[in-house]
């Protein structure tokens, strides 16, 4: 009878596991569980060993840790590319050349206004047009550069917030480690806690590159792929952020060491790549272009004579580098220095009607005045660079997405809940339960028959 009772309990437990699987069939991150039924140790009856029934020893969660690690790595890669593409999409929107409303139109209008001035160098409307074109050009440079900085600052804030999220997750993982260890020690299976931890680890790998090592005691220690410790046992090492005094951008510190540039995956990497590499490089190209234009225009202006025969003065406010050899800030601060159209030095010899200097200024468009290139060629390279940054990351993103889809499919085929399978199991355990119950009732009948034999009727 106790054999049957044990069986009832075991089948009931198994049905409980099935029920839990069915209940969680749509829970993200849930790994199906299987009841582990075990023969009870046999007892010796006379000379024969007789089985003593069944036990549900434990519940096993079906998971492939190696596969999970691969998924986390690819997830990390995909989030990195995703956050990079999102950031750089904002940047490429600033250079709206496909609609013909980018800097190119301002550059062309500017030089064209001087070509136009050369046909009639004393015309006030044409002089005014050249001055206005200069102001528009300077304004466009300044605005584009400021918008770049705004995007960069937005990314910096995202970096700080992401680090906070990383710390929250690592704290949770450390906490779960502790609970898992306790439950494991007590001989139970911490399946649901492990699922929770898997979910946290996947979320963590969304944010930063992770390497996870599972210990025998069930805890998971987490480092970045470059070896910075994030979680060890029930301890998490929180990352900190600190603004760099020179750039104002936040560095990421682990135990006081700057690890910003060694982060190799997750949203953080994408944000940092856009913030510290792509945007500064675009910004510096823009600065070089602005500085080249300012300097060449001013030189040419100073070589000529204004409408009143006076020596020409700077067209744009001259750019003074804050750091020698760097043009940083040239685009943001670009403004026109001239206040009156008559100050434009169209004449090369002081004769009012002479146009040679206006022609020379218009011809700067075809001169190698920006790092050995014409302004147009330099700008078109910049456009190519920005477009390539996004398009390369986008195609990589697609490739990683396909890999990730494959891996998820594989993971689901191992850990996903199949209702057909659960139904089969349910029927199986139900039948076993029914049979065990029948055994009890048969034994009961036997016993009552036996008892009845002695009851006076």
């Amino acid at each position: 009878m106790s054999v049957a009772l044990q069986s009832l309990l075991a089948q009931q437990g198994a049905m409980g596991v099935v029920a839990n699987n069915i209940a969680n069939s749509n829970t993200p991150g849930y790994s199906r569980e299987v009841p582990v039924l075990q023969e009870s140790p046999p007892t010796l009856m006379g000379n024969t060993m007789v089985g003593s029934g069944v036990n549900m020893s434990t519940v096993e969660s079906v998971r492939d840790n190696i596969l999970n690690l691969r998924i986390d790595q690819e997830t990390s890669q995909q989030s990195s590319l995703g956050s990079y593409v999102n950031s750089m999409n904002q940047v490429q929107a600033l250079f709206n050349e496909t609609q013909g409303t980018g800097l190119q139109s301002y550059l062309s209008s500017f030089f064209n206004s001087f070509t136009s001035l050369s046909t009639d160098p004393t015309s006030s409307p044409l002089r005014q047009a050249a001055l206005t074109a200069g102001e528009n050009l300077a304004g466009a440079f300044s605005l584009t550069s400021q918008n770049l900085s705004t995007i960069q600052q937005g990314l910096d804030q995202s970096v700080v917030q992401t680090v906070q999220q990383v710390n929250q997750l690592t704290a949770q993982v450390a906490n779960l480690n502790q609970q898992i260890k306790m439950i494991s020690n007590s001989g139970e299976s911490p399946g649901s806690l492990m699922d929770q931890r898997d979910e946290d680890l996947t979320n963590l790998s969304n944010l930063i590159d992770t390497a996870v090592v599972y210990s025998a005691d069930g805890t998971a220690s987490v480092t970045t792929t470059n070896g910075t410790l994030l979680v060890s046992g029930n301890q998490n090492d929180a990352l900190t952020t600190q603004a760099d005094s020179a750039t104002g951008m936040h560095e990421i510190l682990a135990q006081g060491t700057d690890i910003t540039s060694s982060i190799a995956g997750g949203q953080l990497q994408g944000l940092i790549k856009a913030r510290d590499s792509s945007i500064p490089s675009t910004q510096s190209s823009l600065d070089n272009l602005a500085a080249g234009l300012i300097s060449a225009m001013n030189t040419q202006q100073n070589a000529g004579y204004n409408m009143n025969g006076g020596k020409g003065v700077d067209f744009f406010t001259p750019f003074t580098p804050t750091t020698a050899g760097s043009n940083a800030g040239a685009a943001t601060t670009m403004t026109v220095a001239l206040t009156d159209p008559s100050q434009i030095a169209a004449s090369s010899d002081g004769t009012t009607g002479d146009n040679a200097n206006a022609t020379a200024m218009a011809n700067l468009e075809n001169q190698p005045i920006v790092s050995g290139q014409t302004p147009g060629a330099y700008y078109s390279n910049l456009i190519n660079q920005v477009g390539n940054d996004v398009s390369n990351a986008t195609s990589e993103q697609t490739a990683v997405g396909l890999v990730l889809q494959q891996l998820s499919n594989q993971q689901s085929s191992i850990s996903g809940v199949s209702l057909d399978e659960e139904a089969t199991n349910l029927v199986m355990y139900q039948r076993a339960y029914e049979a065990s119950a029948r055994v009890i009732s048969v034994v009961d009948e036997l016993v009552s028959t036996t008892i009845d034999m002695f009851t006076p009727s």
Partner: protein
């Protein structure tokens, strides 16, 4: 036991739908904007060459504008010079008439008056303006080139300079826009104003009238030769205009190839994604509607 397969088929359908929706968006954007190049990353190389082409076509448009404003001033200058040639021709006839021995003093003085009128007419023509600027004063376009001057042997003084402006009419091709009066109306051996002054003096004083008439004849020939500059320039402008217009047409076409979408292809792409979307949705509707539980007795 068979190989366990992914029981969650919706996940596969979902990612298929997502990929397809992305393609559909792209196709829809192309059809609605008429452009295949909607952001730089769609085709960075095309975006970059688009910038170069736009710079070039924008310069071309400016050169064309230069050409049309130059054509105006060149035509005005050309017709002014034609009038000068005409005036000199009549001065020459006056000279021939004056050289005729039958003239008396009062006849000659009347002819001298006529020459003086011609002198003034030519001076007016030499001071022709276009858009408020003097056409024949070199680059000193705000200075009246010829003023009367009794102390000068020719009766006038040239106040302009000997330079001339050049304007680019296509990339790297500059063209002088005018000739200074000092070159147009005189050279070391011939001078329009000197010859007229000499004829005037000769008629008044019954001097060497035929000699002065020859001078006028030489001046006439000289100005006619100089005038060809303007005719040639207008021809040059016309040629440049033809070239630039052609280049612009070509650039517009190339720009279009880089940017504009082939509508037939885009619409086909779009309808293809729609078909795929429908197929995926239909497949999604068909899968997993049943499982084993549906067949178990619900006692």
């Amino acid at each position: 036991m068979g190989i366990r397969v992914n029981p969650n088929l919706y996940g596969i359908i979902l990612s298929g739908l997502q990929t397809n929706t992305q393609l559909e968006n792209q196709a829809l954007q192309q059809v609605s904007s008429g452009q295949k190049l909607n952001s730089l990353s769609d085709d960075p190389a095309a975006a970059s060459s688009l910038v170069n082409m736009r710079i070039e076509s924008s310069s071309d448009a400016q050169y064309l504008q230069n050409i049309s404003s130059l054509t105006g001033s060149l035509n005005v200058a050309d017709s002014a010079l034609s009038s000068v040639v005409e005036a000199l021709t009549s001065a020459q006839s006056v000279g021939v008439e004056g050289a005729n021995g039958t003239n008396n003093t009062s006849n000659r003085q009347a002819l001298a008056q006529e020459v003086q009128g011609i002198q003034q007419e030519i001076m007016g023509l030499a001071n022709t303006t276009y858009n408020g600027e003097y056409l024949f004063s070199g680059t000193a376009t705000t200075t009246q080139p010829y003023v009367e001057d009794a102390t000068s042997a020719s009766g006038v003084t040239y106040k302009g300079n000997d330079s001339s402006n050049s304007v680019e009419i296509s990339e790297g091709q500059a063209m002088p826009t005018s000739l200074p009066g000092s070159q147009l109306f005189s050279n070391p051996t011939t001078s329009v104003f000197q010859s007229l002054q000499d004829l005037y003096t000769a008629l008044n004083s019954n001097g060497n009238i035929s000699g002065a008439t020859t001078e006028v004849q030489n001046a006439l020939n000289y100005v006619s030769t100089q005038q060809t500059f303007y005719g040639n320039s207008v021809d040059r402008l016309n040629n440049a205009q033809t070239f630039l217009t052609q280049e612009q047409t070509q650039l517009t076409e190339t720009e279009g190839n880089a940017v504009d979408v082939n509508m037939a292809t885009a619409v086909t792409d779009l309808s293809q994604t729609v078909t795929t979307q429908q197929a995926l949705l239909a497949a999604g509707g068909k899968i997993s509607q049943l499982n084993l539980f549906d067949y178990l007795p619900s006692s």
